[in-house]
């Protein structure tokens, strides 16, 4: 009898899995719909951020090719520093313009043809040369996900997209040694915990010779330039393509690197 009753109720049971009310699961992180501050946003609790920071730091050390882990480390540890950076950008006229207009650097927004046609020693041409020689593309930056403020999410996105420009300004290639030097520069300039951690722990995998060069020449030079130069996030790079690189370096107070880094590490 019970089986017959159950059989008759079958059509109603065809749609199972009524979503459980939110009260049942108090600690879940909302990933969809309400609560998203920007399209790629994933709201996270403090516990999740702490775990992410620790996990991404460990994974980045374990597997240096996981650039996404470095990015996640930056997002989860940088909240306070990003606020300071954002306020400092607001105070600077060019920086305030960047915050207002929110320019993005990607293959879609860059006019590569125009950049290629610029004179040889201009900033734009040198930037393009940097991309070609090191075989990198401005499109490999992952979108911000774990920053819980929409403007700060843009600030860290801008920091990531400007990273290649810093390489060009400093004349550093994308090998490990070059990246560490750039991280030292950025650590002094921005104070982001992720930069500081990368700068301190990145050299672990270097050979003794490279380490010696790094400590004796490159780091002092990077720190000196980092202190002297105004914040690189305040430069509206998209308007400075035609500016000669030498002039731009002089404006920022950046000197030539003490030695060529291409062959090392």
């Amino acid at each position: 009898m019970a089986t017959l009753l159950r059989r008759s109720l079958r059509p109603l049971r065809a749609f199972r899995g009524h979503p459980r009310p939110a009260a049942d699961v108090p600690l879940r992180a909302t990933s969809h719909g309400a609560g998203l501050l920007y399209p790629e946003h994933i709201p996270t609790s403090l516990v999740q951020k702490a775990l992410l920071a620790a996990g991404s730091a460990g994974m980045a050390l374990y597997d240096p090719y996981r650039h996404d882990m470095v990015a996640v480390l930056g997002e989860t540890t940088g909240y306070r520093t990003l606020k300071v950076l954002r306020d400092q950008m607001r105070r600077d006229p060019e920086g305030a313009q960047i915050l207002q207009e929110r320019p993005r650097i990607s293959l879609a927004t860059l006019d590569l043809g125009k950049l290629r046609s610029l004179p040889e020693d201009s900033f734009g041409r040198e930037y393009l040369r940097f991309l070609d020689v090191n075989r990198v593309s401005p499109d490999t930056r992952a979108p911000t996900r774990f920053v819980d403020d929409e403007e700060l999410a843009y600030v860290i996105q801008r920091y990531r997209e400007v990273h290649d420009m810093v390489h060009t300004l400093l004349g550093m290639p994308t090998n490990i040694l070059g990246e560490i030097v750039v991280k030292w520069f950025e650590a002094v300039q921005t104070g982001l915990p992720m930069c500081i951690l990368s700068a301190l722990f990145g050299p672990i995998q270097l050979s003794a010779q490279s380490l010696q060069v790094l400590v004796s020449e490159l780091i002092p030079w990077a720190v000196q330039n980092g202190r002297r130069a105004p914040c690189v996030l305040n430069l509206y790079y998209e308007r400075r393509w035609e500016q000669p690189l030498r002039a731009l370096r002089e404006e920022l107070g950046i000197t030539e690197p003490p030695r060529r880094v291409e062959g090392l590490a």
Binding site: R6, R13, R16, R28, T30, G55, S56, M59
Partner: protein, 342 residues
């Protein structure tokens, strides 16, 4: 009367004032992705009175074609595609993540499933949603061990092997599985690929077959298998009742249905810890190890959406199985449901 036509994305797009036209409806049916689980009457589900026309009450029909994807609500058509994408993305790190997330306990659960199954040599097993082959490999190990034990017993009891068996042994033609076969069926190509690679790496060849198929519409004849298992797969199926009916169909009379799945925790303290762990730690693990937060968020949400033990037991009974029982493991984090086709 105006009708709203749903595209595969689940949004009302075209509104026609024309009377029902079969050609148009069959067109929208064909426009959907081929990954759809057995959609027998796509045109019926695609056209219903559109919302923006006015305050139309949600009919029973409309609600029935929406389902859950984790805590999101999606149309049934979408769900199949989204689940496919999740498993396509997690396939490469699936086993590593299982070990990390369950701290290796999933191996114990799967071993317990095999112990419960207690297959003897000659069993024909169908492992649905068997992707990376964990159950299949355990089954092969189990029946091989059983077969060897049986042979040892025979020898010890002074039952000499027949000349055919001795000849076969020398020619290495003896079937070390004693006639057992396992068919691994999965809807996702990536998962099957991983499974095949694992089988090659571990040297499993005999008695193993890999089939691409949908749990809601299995590509097998009726009354074919002795045991049907589905481990951690049925909660991802869009129409669980259809999967259960298919299970009933392909089993031989006397065959057994076994389902290993996450279920409801019965202990309030464990439940609280489990929730914290699921929602705080698992997506983080997914991000750090596999670079994929969202897939693992979906996985933990889908566990919460699955019916509890008693309800699932009733669903199995509805499909025609008898002597349905369940056994909780690890305070109900996981449950093994068992039923027989008699």
């Amino acid at each position: 009367m105006q009708h709203g036509v749903l595209s595969a994305g689940g949004h009302p797009t075209i509104k026609m004032a024309a009377p029902r036209s079969w050609a148009l409806w069959s067109l929208c049916g064909r426009g959907w992705s081929p990954v759809l689980p057995g959609c027998r009457l796509p045109w019926l589900r695609s056209c219903w009175p559109s919302g923006p026309l006015g305050a139309r009450p949600l009919s029973q029909e409309k609600r029935a074609t929406e389902t859950h994807f984790g805590f999101e609500t999606v149309s049934e058509e979408e769900k199949g595609g989204k689940v496919y994408q999740v498993f396509e993305s997690v396939a490469r790190k699936y086993d590593v993540m299982n070990d990390m997330m369950s701290l290796g306990i999933h191996r114990v659960w799967k071993d317990l499933l095999l112990l419960k199954m207690h297959p003897f040599p000659g069993t024909q097993l169908l492992d649905v949603a068997g992707g990376t082959g964990d159950i299949a490999f355990r089954f092969l190990n189990y029946v091989q061990a059983q077969h060897q034990r049986k042979q040892k017993r025979q020898l010890r009891a002074q039952q000499n092997l027949s000349w055919e068996e001795i000849a076969k042994k020398y020619q290495n033609q003896e079937d070390s599985l004693g006639g057992s076969r396992v068919m691994v069926c999965d809807i996702n190509k990536e998962m099957l690929k991983m499974g095949k690679q694992k089988a090659c790496a571990r040297g499993y060849k005999a008695g193993l077959a890999w089939v691409l198929g949908d749990a809601e519409e299995l590509p097998f004849d009726d009354d074919k298998f002795d045991v049907y298992t589905i481990a951690f797969g049925i909660r991802n199926v869009t129409h669980i009742d259809r999967a259960l009916q298919e299970a009933h169909r392909v089993l031989k009379p006397g065959g057994r249905f076994l389902c290993l799945e996450f279920s409801q925790v019965n202990n309030p303290l464990v439940s609280r810890l489990y929730d914290v762990y699921s929602f705080q730690v698992i997506p983080v693990l997914g991000e750090v190890i596999a670079g994929d937060w969202k897939s693992y968020q979906y996985l933990v949400e889908s566990i919460r959406q699955f019916p509890p033990q008693e309800e699932f037991k009733e669903m199995i009974e509805d499909a025609g199985f008898q002597k349905v029982t369940y056994e909780n493991l690890t305070s109900g984090i996981v449950a093994i449901h068992s039923g027989f086709k008699l």
